[in-house]
Amino acid sequence: MSELVLKTEKLDKVYKLGGRQVRALSDVNIQVKKGDFISVMGPSGSGKTTLLNMLGCLDKPTYGKVVLDNLDVTKVPEKGLFKIRKYKVGFVFQTFNLMPYLNAIENVELPMDGTKKSKDEKRKRTRELLKMVGLSEREEHRPHRLSAGEQQRVAIARALANNPAIVLADEPTGNLDSKTGHEIIRLLGKLNIDQGTTIVMVTHDSLIASRASRMLFLNDGKLLAKEKQGTHLLKKELTCPNCGREIQPDDTFCPRCGKKL
């Protein structure tokens, strides 16, 4: 059995809004194994982002616990949470959230600020990541000179900077057109397969959600019992059975040998 990277137990989150209590999450129990690519689907206001904030230590649950990489992060004092966010979690946001005055390479390097890595090591790692997301040629460009898809790629590279245990993606395709959105999902899928990156992605788009390996459903802050298998393929399934070359999950025909898959 694969190692558990993330686990929540009876997660509750209650907000107070003008004297009224709003239960954003209720008794949420999730288990994420190393190498999982999970999508959490639900309509607006279902608690998806709240859940992601709990998982990424941006917010604390009212009740229950979050165990990340064998550490109960709900017991970590506020002052220590930054280390978990720096080393254990990588965030990908809907609006990319890149620093507008930094270029691609500097944006990716940012989470490595204050780590023990030398300047050269940081630069080497950053170049590897930008290559991985296909932006080697764009490393000197600032966000405003990159397309939306490219900006999200930079954001994904930034999320991976400190080799986190888990990548949390909040509507990563929400601000992208359909084609670019699928490219980003494909990239996440590829990272999951090639690098073994564990990903939890929240989305309200069922098509995007279906590209994960597991689909969870959230409604009114509650995780529904039903869980679906996504169309995400394993590494061995991403090669052409005819010629053995790499194929993309969407491909119907092998781009190399042209035979039907």
């Binding site: 904030n53 941006l58 930054f82 966010r85 959230n97 600020d113 930034r158």
Partner: protein
């Protein structure tokens, strides 16, 4: 743009901080130099009795016959030179310094308008000031002008056939140092030119020469026009004046008691002005300090608010509270440092203007200026000092601005560090 404006505003604030202390120093220096100059003048003046012939005509009793009247010497009639030695023997008299003041033989026509009609008179062009060129007199009693222009020199002991010319006369005759001027038919060499301290006083056209030369050329051998009598100390001045007046009918002996009282009051006023200036300066520096801190505080609060989302991102990707805080602190300090450099430049260039604007009496103390207030002495009751911030002041000012920048950034930076990342990420 905003940062630029803030840098300029802080720069001015700093310029004020570095301009005011030198202004105060200059003010202190001016008052000090005035006090020193003034004290020695007062000490000398306190022992001085001016003796002149007040009869205006007729022969004063006690004076040997043979003394003649001559046009208008300042004291009216002349005094026989032998009186000088006699006065020196009076108990308590330290010394008696004779002067001979005679109008020039050269005249200039001047039209006078009177109710009876206008007519022209010939006014003497200048006054010959015959001084006793004795080194003790020159050194101790300042009998000669002090503002000698270069090149050139002052008169010295034993100088004969040489004169010191006022700047006006030098211009009038177009005569420089080394030139020759004819006075009463005799040629004199110009050894120096002096600049009179006050143009307000009428008698600024003077030619200084050895008293014996003056006596000879004006046919006044044995005559002096007045005496400065110096007492051993101020307490015997009144007695000596009485003795002189009793012994020589027609001679007037006046002391400086009343005038000194006035001068002392003026000096006290200068000191009180200094104290007021210091109070104003202190208030202005406090205002500049408060303004600097407030500018940084408001600017940084605005920056923190504007960059809330950025703070959220930084915290989401693992920046600690301390990192966020130090980043904003550093920003505030760097901004202040830039402002400091601007302030140093403004301060160096504009310190005299800024300090004179904020401290009107910063670089000069001007009570009044006169000539011949005490006998022949030139008394200058004004002092001026240069306002220039020194390196220490500049560095202190720079340090102060950076420190104030750090203090002003402290609260905004702290607030930034406490921002909840989740809330900050939602901020648009």
């Amino acid at each position: 743009m905003r940062a630029f404006l803030v840098v300029i505003a802080l720069g001015f604030s700093m310029a004020i901080m570095i301009s005011i202390p030198p202004g105060i120093v200059a003010n202190q220096e001016a008052v000090q130099s005035l006090t020193e100059n003034f004290s020695s003048t007062i000490n000398t003046a306190a022992t001085l009795i001016e003796v002149s012939n007040s009869s205006g005509g007729g022969m004063p009793s006690g004076m040997p016959s043979g003394a003649t009247f001559f046009r208008f010497g300042r004291g009216g009639a002349f005094i026989d030179e032998t009186v000088v030695d006699e006065i020196r023997t009076i108990e308590g008299v330290k010394d008696a310094v004779p002067f001979l003041e005679v109008s020039s033989n050269e005249t200039t026509p001047e039209t006078m308008n009177t109710p009876r009609g206008s007519f022209t008179i010939n006014r003497p062009l200048y006054t010959i000031e015959g001084v006793c060129l004795n080194s003790t007199f020159i050194d101790e009693y300042s009998i000669l002008p002090t503002n000698i222009t270069t090149p050139g020199r002052n008169l010295r002991e034993g100088d004969s056939g040489r004169v010191l010319l006022s700047l006006n006369l030098s211009d009038y005759y177009d005569l420089g140092v080394g030139g020759s001027i004819g006075i009463y038919g005799e040629p004199f060499t110009v050894v120096g030119i002096y600049e009179p301290v006050s143009q307000g006083f009428m008698r600024t056209n003077e030619v200084y020469m050895n008293i014996s030369d003056a006596q000879r050329i004006t046919s006044n051998t044995g005559n002096v026009s007045r005496l400065d009598v110096y007492a051993d100390n101020a307490s015997v001045v009144d007695n000596i004046a009485e003795v002189i007046q009793a012994a020589y009918t027609g001679l007037s002996a006046s002391t400086n008691a009343g005038r000194m009282q006035m001068y002392q009051t003026a000096l006290n006023n200068a000191e009180s002005t200094l104290s007021q200036t210091q109070t104003v300066a202190f208030e202005e520096i406090v205002i500049a300090i408060v303004a600097t801190s407030l500018i940084v505080l408001v600017m940084m609060l605005y920056t923190v608010r504007e960059r809330t989302k950025e703070i959220g991102i930084l915290k989401a990707i693992g920046f600690s509270n301390w990192s966020v805080m130090s980043q904003f602190m550093l920003e505030g300090i760097l901004l202040s440092l830039m402002a400091g450099v601007v302030g140093v430049v403004i301060g160096i260039v504009g310190a005299p203007y800024i300090s004179s604007l904020l401290l009107p009496s910063a670089n000069h103390v001007n009570l009044f200026s006169t000539r011949g207030g005490f006998g022949s002495q030139v008394v200058n009751f004004s002092a001026r000092a240069t306002v220039a911030p020194d390196l220490r002041t500049l560095l202190l000012g720079l340090g102060a601005v950076v420190l104030l920048g750090a203090i002003g950034s402290l609260y905004p930076a702290w607030r930034a560090s406490r921002t909840s990342p989740m809330e900050a990420l939602r901020y648009e």
